[in-house]
């Protein structure tokens, strides 16, 4: 305890030096917190976009469909969705379940033709699972079977407006080419690039007619009350439905997106590592100075009866005290930056305007603070500071007391 007091006073022999060192550490820690907030924001936004617009928490397919999803196999679809919906609806945690029909389509405005993902949605129930109806920025959501809803990106690419006519061309289950005319009823801006730039939504009835699949749907999307429970709920539903259907959670369906995200984690880790090395070098430098200028004093302490362990303890306390200041400052500034980015966000729309991003996020990136992470960073800052003193103090412990005393 008294060694701690001694260490405290030693740290304040050079207040400015202490504060500069603490500031160096704090910059590193603040960057760490800021980056974590940012990454959380990006990841959560991506997860939310996927759940809210693309898949729901869990999707049900007919057995064998998902394996060939890329080619939209119309011979392995859910032929009678009503039966499944009735079975699943009452399972615990399930809030809603809606069907969708996804198909490969070409859009034509008479001049240009563009391949898109066609999505047939249940006009009335879509909003019980997805946020698409709430993302209409111009016009209105689908109302009848002649309406088509497209993203703002696609509208820009094809020069379309609300009220424009569009032809959807596709091949039905029997291999026949079909083409139906639609009127653009509205534009959506979801933040999910797939929906904003590469998809067209029509009513599920229209889609079923286009594809000649009667009441069949390609998938059922489920909304549950807690997305973290996806896996558990998925298993429960699986037990009810048996082996004719396959189920996937939103995480399983987007593993590639989250693989990218773990790559980003790695990049983040490397940056943090660099920052920490810089901070550690700062504290090593400071402690090295402290040891060098106090060698005679260390000799005196040893003469009084300080063991090497006591000497090391004293310097570790000193490093720790600097670390506490660095951590307080770093967490404070990190939090301020994080709050800023959480409230205001960073507008990336100019930076990525014409980039083809596959990461499903809105162009204003908002952070999300992980308070537990801030606690870890706080402890981490102190730990690094304490450990970084070990090397400088080593030289002090190696000296015989007499050699230390001779250093005046």
């Amino acid at each position: 305890m008294k060694i701690l007091i001694l260490a405290w006073r030693n740290v304040f022999r050079h207040t400015r030096r202490t504060m500069i060192t603490a500031a160096a550490i704090s910059v590193g820690l603040a960057v760490m917190i800021f980056m974590d907030t940012m990454m959380n924001g990006v990841n959560n936004m991506a997860s939310r976009n996927i759940i809210d617009f693309e898949t729901g928490a869990i999707q049900i397919f007919a057995q064998g469909y998902y394996r060939e999803e890329g080619v939209f196999p119309l011979d392995t679809i859910i032929e009678n969705p009503i039966v499944i919906i009735e079975k699943v609806e009452n399972i615990k945690h399930v809030k809603n379940i809606v069907p969708r029909v996804k198909f490969e389509a070409r859009l034509s405005d008479g001049n240009d033709e563009l391949p898109v993902l066609g999505i047939g949605v249940d006009v009335k129930k879509e909003q019980t699972v997805f946020e698409t109806p709430n993302s209409v920025v111009k016009g209105k959501f689908l109302e009848n079977d002649e309406d088509i809803l497209i993203g703002t990106g696609l509208a820009r690419d094809m020069n379309l407006e609300v009220g424009s006519y569009l032809t959807v061309i596709t091949m039905d289950r029997n291999g026949t080419h079909n083409a139906y005319d639609f009127t653009v009823c509205g534009l959506i801006n979801t933040g999910h690039p797939l929906l904003d730039r590469n998809a067209a939504l029509i009513s599920i009835k229209a889609a079923q007619r286009l594809l000649a699949i009667s009441n069949g749907v390609t998938e059922l999307s489920i909304k549950i009350d807690n997305n973290e429970k996806s896996m558990k709920v998925k298993q429960e539903i699986s037990e009810v439905l048996g082996t004719d259907y396959e189920l996937y959670t939103w995480k399983e369906l987007n593993s590639s997106v989250f693989e990218i995200s773990s790559g980003k984690r790695m990049a983040q880790f490397i940056i943090v590592l660099v920052v920490i090395i810089i901070a550690a070098v700062g504290i090593i430098n400071t402690m090295l100075m402290a040891v060098m200028e106090r060698i005679a004093e260390i000799g005196t302490l040893k003469a009084i009866g300080f063991s090497n362990f006591n000497v090391v303890k004293m310097f570790m306390y000193e490093g720790g005290i600097i670390g506490v200041f660095g951590s307080i400052l770093g967490c404070f500034f990190g939090l301020i930056l994080s709050l800023f980015i959480t409230v205001y966000g960073i507008d990336m729309s100019n930076a990525v305007k014409d980039m083809d991003i596959i990461y499903p996020i809105k162009l204003i990136i908002k952070g999300e603070i992980n308070y537990q992470m801030i606690l870890y960073v706080f402890i981490f800052g102190i730990a690094v500071s304490i450990l970084a003193t070990l090397w400088p103090v080593r030289s002090a412990t190696r000296l015989e007391p007499v050699d230390a005393l001779r250093h005046v």
């Binding site: 001694l6 005196t300 302490l301 003469a303 009084i304 009866g305 090497n308 015989e400 007499v402 005046v408």
Partner: protein
């Protein structure tokens, strides 16, 4: 009791070997007030440092209260210093960030002594050396003489078997030096603590009851005077 047997110490500077001690055999009884005298470079400080377990001899043995320090680990030597030996240095060597009280407290913190007992001992020794009114001053707020009194208090507060003082008056004016020496002598008589100090100052020698004269690392004269 302290005993040295055929003690040698060489210092190496570059490729040259400087002999500092060349076969010193002495024994110093408990409770004495012994001066190790001699010109600078005669090996006084080296001898004192080796007796105080601050330095290692090149050859020879030192026996303190029956234990041979050559056989002690650095931890055991630290323990020996902690419990049995008090040091007083020429440059006082107080810890600048600590007050007089805290400097004196430092050795007690390394021993198992209750806070109350600590306080009593510190106050009483500081009163003994005449610094009762200075206990909360830091070293830079005190004169050299006062600092050396704090250092003496620090050496004595743990009731060590012996106090080793390396040129304790060298940085003090003669009046203050005399005061410090009278104080040490007084404490020596009162507490029966063994004092061994190095000096080349005639004044210091006048106070000693035994003077061991060193020259070129050898004992040239060992003179015991009647107590008085």
């Amino acid at each position: 009791m302290v005993k040295t047997i055929d003690l040698y110490k060489d210092y190496r500077v570059g490729n040259v070997l400087f002999p500092a001690l060349c076969g010193i055999t002495i024994s110093i009884e408990d409770g004495g007030f012994t001066a190790i005298a001699g010109p600078s470079g005669s090996g006084k400080t080296t001898l004192l440092n080796i007796i105080g377990c601050l330095d290692l001899p090149t050859k020879g043995e030192v026996i303190i209260d029956g234990s041979n320090i050559k056989k002690l680990s650095s931890k055991e030597k630290a323990d020996l210093r902690r419990m049995k030996i008090g040091f007083v240095f020429q440059t006082f060597n107080l810890i600048p960030v600590l007050t007089a009280y805290e400097n004196v407290e430092m050795p007690l913190l390394l021993l198992d002594i209750s806070p109350e007992e600590r306080k009593n001992r510190i106050i009483s020794i500081l009163r003994e050396v005449g610094l009762a009114d200075y206990i909360h001053r830091k070293p830079n707020e005190m004169s050299g003489g006062q600092q050396q009194r704090v250092a003496i208090s620090r050496a004595l507060v743990k009731n060590p078997a012996m106090v080793l003082a390396d040129e304790p008056t060298a940085n003090l004016d003669s009046t203050t030096g005399k005061e410090i020496l009278s104080l040490m002598r007084e404490l020596n008589k009162k507490l029966k603590t063994t004092f061994i100090f190095s000096t080349h100052d005639q004044l210091v020698m006048d106070f000693a009851d035994r003077i061991i004269n060193l020259r070129d690392g050898k004992v040239v004269k060992d003179m015991t005077r009647g107590t008085g």
